[in-house]
């Protein structure tokens, strides 16, 4: 039996965490660091018809306003695959600010870079975005009619259905049948440190200080999306900052931080705000599950 069982053990990183000595991704300070803030879409579905960044750029400390109008196109399209598969894990099947489409409320439609976090957020509040609203589907019930039967699950890794035995006759012959539908509301992960990425370029070499569960997943994703060799991307994570699983996938802000830093040629930190923890990051979606089971009178 392991001598550790039954004994109290000190966490290796405990003293650093409780004394504040631990440096989280949002606390990495680099010379010349700038801060990025995301402007989230104000509509759930539609198009961006105009963006005006003049007022934002006129605000103190603002350096750049990025949107689909001036953000470079990605080298590769994101492909939805769980990080467990060991490949790029972009978390979403599209990348924001590549075109004018809005897929969900809060989706990044612009990004402001400024010399302090506060000034970045203030400037972001001054970006004027004009939308053309389209009909949206935001609940399970609204989308039920348009739903289709999935053929695969988990990014194509698993078949969506499997069958064994004769279910129909089993149900027909049973003495007791239970049929129920179970509904669960959407859940949002909220770790103590909201996902934060600090990006710095040295020539063509990119370093990311990222609050991620998998440095490899971040490295693979950013390398694929930006089309740069894996060997040119270094990802450093000191402390994850909590996750509840949400930092397994590599949400758009990681690549956006790298793109922002490349645009302004300075280190840039992009920290999700707490409200953004409910939009362009992970969501445990609402779901409705049906169940039917049957038993013989003797329990068989």
């Amino acid at each position: 039996m392991s001598p550790a069982i039954g004994r109290s053990l000190d966490r290796v990183d405990g003293p650093e965490k409780v004394t504040g000595a631990a440096r989280y991704s949002g606390e990495i300070v680099l010379p010349g660091l700038l801060h990025a803030a995301i402007v989230g879409a104000a509509i759930p579905c539609g198009r961006v018809t105009a963006i005006a960044g003049d007022a934002a750029l006129g605000a103190g400390g603002a350096v750049a306003v990025l949107s689909h109008l001036n953000l470079p196109r990605l080298a590769g399209a994101p492909r939805l695959l769980p990080s467990l598969a060991g490949g790029p894990a972009p978390g979403q099947s599209f990348f924001p600010m590549q075109d004018d489409r809005v897929h969900y409320a809060g989706q990044p439609v612009a990004m402001v870079i400024a010399d302090s976090l506060e000034r970045a957020h203030h400037a972001a509040s001054l970006v004027s975005v004009v939308y053309e609203r389209a009909a949206s589907i935001t609940t399970l019930d609204e989308g039920r009619d348009a739903a289709q039967e999935a053929t695969t699950l988990f990014g194509g890794l698993l078949p969506a259905s499997s069958a064994r035995g004769d279910v129909q006759s089993g149900l027909a012959e049973a003495d007791v049948r239970i049929q129920a539908t179970y509904r669960m509301a959407a859940n949002h992960h909220n770790p103590i440190e909201a996902p934060t990425t600090t990006a710095v370029w040295a020539g063509d070499r990119l370093t990311l200080y990222d609050s991620t569960m998998g440095v490899r997943a971040s490295q693979l994703t950013v390398s694929q999306l930006l089309g740069i060799p894996l060997s040119k991307v270094r990802v450093i994570t000191g402390f994850v900052g909590g996750s509840f699983g949400m930092k397994a996938m590599v949400w758009p802000h990681v690549t956006l931080a790298a793109m922002a830093a490349r645009h302004v040629r300075r280190p840039v930190r992009l920290a999700m705000t707490r409200p953004q923890m409910f939009t362009p990051t992970a969501t445990a979606r609402s779901r409705s599950s049906g169940s039917r089971s049957a038993r013989g009178a003797t329990g068989g």
Binding site: A59, G60, E118, R119, H121, H122, S125
Partner: protein, 330 residues
């Protein structure tokens, strides 16, 4: 966060003069609510005048047995003051049941009285809200209103007042002293909090530039055995769904005097005068306490999600009065 200017006041008159002179300015004490609201864009001052350095941190005895609390005395200092604990235990309890230790170490007494509602529609800076944007409508009437008020509401606003200690102050007839551009003023706690009516944006009668300098607790013998009960969704760091400040004087089984105030259910700290009337000269029994609770809650105006507060408040009142009476029996 909007850019703003900041200055530190050196004396009370100077602080009042600077704020009175500039329309979009505000006093800054502990900042535990105000800075949040500025970050959210709900409060939009161009100038903050920091009053933390002013000599307003006293907790001192008044002739006759009352206490004077300085406006920038910290919640934690007042909560732990032996004078407060001995004479007004409900004040100490209410303070200690509010916020967190870190916030209490920073938050001021004057700021506590002026804190704004936790109504999510007020704070989100987007939804229609008559308190934030007069005339824009009240999103809470038909929205998520579980935490909202059931007493003192209007068709324009049902936001609950969030303070705990103000509930105890209401029970004890605290008095607010101010200095403003037009001189000094004394405002009874009843007059300090306005009902929302059709002007929910106006929560107290302070003029722009008028500064709370102290809060007096008048002498009140039965307050020495007062209690404060608070019910909330979690056991710490949460605002009240229902709270009760109670104090009674009981002689030979008869309630000779009663003070009762409610939190979490009113659009302002809610002095329960109907209940007090019902209690006075009646038996100190659970049945009578229940009658008093029912009298107070009869006008309750409940909404889709907050109807439970009537029953919760009823039980909380009975429990608080029972505890207060146990301490007061002689």
């Amino acid at each position: 966060m909007r850019p703003l200017s900041y200055t530190r006041a050196l004396d009370v008159d100077g602080a009042v003069a600077v704020v009175a002179r500039q329309p979009d300015s505000a006093f800054l004490a502990g900042g535990t609510t105000e800075v949040d609201l500025i970050r959210l864009g709900v409060a939009r001052p161009d100038l903050l005048v920091d009053i933390n350095g002013l000599p307003l941190r006293q907790i001192e005895e008044l002739p006759g047995g009352g206490l004077r609390l300085g406006a920038v005395a910290r919640m934690s200092d007042v909560a732990r003051s032996p004078l407060v604990k001995a004479r007004y235990p409900a004040v100490s309890q209410a303070l200690l049941l509010g916020a967190s230790e870190q916030l209490r170490n920073m938050a001021s007494m004057g700021g506590n009285l002026c804190q704004r509602t936790r109504c999510a529609y007020f704070r989100d800076n987007v939804s229609p809200c008559n308190k934030r944007e007069p005339g824009s409508g009240c999103s809470a009437l038909e929205g998520l209103n579980r935490g909202h008020a059931i007493l003192g509401t209007s068709e324009h606003c049902i936001a609950a007042h969030p303070s705990d200690v103000a509930v105890a102050f209401a029970a004890f007839d605290a008095v607010v002293h101010t200095i403003g551009p037009r001189g000094t003023r004394t405002i009874g706690i009843d007059d300090f909090y306005l009902l929302p009516g059709d002007t929910p944006e106006r929560e107290h009668p302070l003029e722009h530039g008028e500064l709370i300098v102290s809060i007096d607790l008048p002498p009140l013998e039965l307050a020495r055995r007062s209690v404060y009960l608070k019910f909330r969704d979690r056991q710490s760091y949460e605002f009240a769904l229902v709270s009760v400040a109670a104090a009674v004087e009981v002689r030979s089984g008869i309630v000779t005097e009663a003070r009762l105030a409610l939190g979490g259910v009113g659009t302002r700290p809610w002095r329960a005068r109907r209940a007090e009337t019902e209690l006075r000269d009646g038996p100190a029994t659970i049945e009578q306490f229940a009658l008093a609770a029912a009298a107070e809650l009869a006008p309750a105006d409940v909404r889709r999600h907050n109807a439970f507060k009537t029953e919760l408040a009823h039980r909380a009142i009975v429990r608080a009065l029972t505890r207060a009476a146990e301490g007061a029996a002689r």
